[in-house]
Amino acid sequence: MRQSEFLNVVMPFKDKLYRLAKRLLVSTEEAEDATQEILLKLWSKNEKIGSYNNVEAFAMTMTKNFCLDRLKSRQAGNLKLVHSNYGETSTPLQRQVEAKDSASWVQKIMEELPEQQKMVLQLRDVEEYDYDEIAEMLDMKPSTVRVALSRARKTVREKLMKKHSYGIG
């Protein structure tokens, strides 16, 4: 597969990989590193790519595994969760999100969820995949996806209610 063909295959979902990585790793830089790593891994396998029936789902699974590995090694290495994008104003989007204060609550609430629920919520409510696709990506049963999703949504609602009624988080 040539470079241009590869890019045509990968371009449509590279942002999705990045957003999933960021959801899990929180830090912008780490998410970018992870995405780059995944793309390079895909590129090194580019001869086999044609034989995968769903490259996007495959890449998503790779991203998930890579990020979970990173999180695990970070815990094992006793490293702190470092990210510098608290006060960052470089991206206009970041500012836009931050400006809507309550919207950034949602982000913080999502950070507190367990990894699996985080991923399910990200893939369903942000990326709008259907249950079967999510099940394939995360290597779960569709029914388990549904349960995790309902649980995640309810947790987010509960915490959002609390913040809403107290005014400040």
Partner: protein, 143 residues
């Protein structure tokens, strides 16, 4: 969209039994700004989801054909090695022979030098014989 309908959808949403299209409808409703007061608390949730989708991966990824490069380096290395193994001993033997020849040449030269020196000494002595011959001639001529 009717408020009734939205409330029903929300209920279904939290049970995770909505379809993607229904969730899309919820997002659209909450992004319009005209949200019923008792549902306002849900607005940030759906607005956040819509916003989160706008984030982009902007870094350029360098896609080099790294694999081929390494392959050719190893091919070159093997070629050099094979060449070395094939021709190496020959060259070494040649080198060894040349060194031996040089040594032999030096030794021979030394021996010849020695010989030449001794011959030189001999010629000097023979020079006296010349004088003897000259004197003899003189004597013969006088007589």
């Amino acid at each position: 969209m009717e408020l009734d309908n939205i409330e029903k959808l929300l209920e279904k949403y939290f049970e995770a039994s909505t379809t993607v299209a229904e969730e899309e409808a919820l997002k659209i409703y909450f992004s319009k700004g005209k949200v019923a007061p008792h549902l306002e608390q849900y607005a940030p949730l759906f607005q956040y989801f819509s916003n989160a989708k706008k984030e982009r991966f902007t870094r350029q990824v360098p896609l080099k054909p790294r694999k081929n490069y390494y392959k050719w380096i190893s091919v070159a290395a093997v070629a050099v090695l094979a060449f070395g193994i094939y021709f190496g001993p020959d060259r070494y033997r040649d080198y060894q022979e040349q060194k031996e020849a040089e040594f032999a040449y030096k030794e021979t030269r030394k021996a010849l030098d020695l010989l030449a020196e001794n011959f030189g000494r001999g010629t000097k002595k023979i020079a006296y014989l010349n004088q003897f011959e000259e004197t003899k001639q003189k004597i013969y001529n006088n007589n």
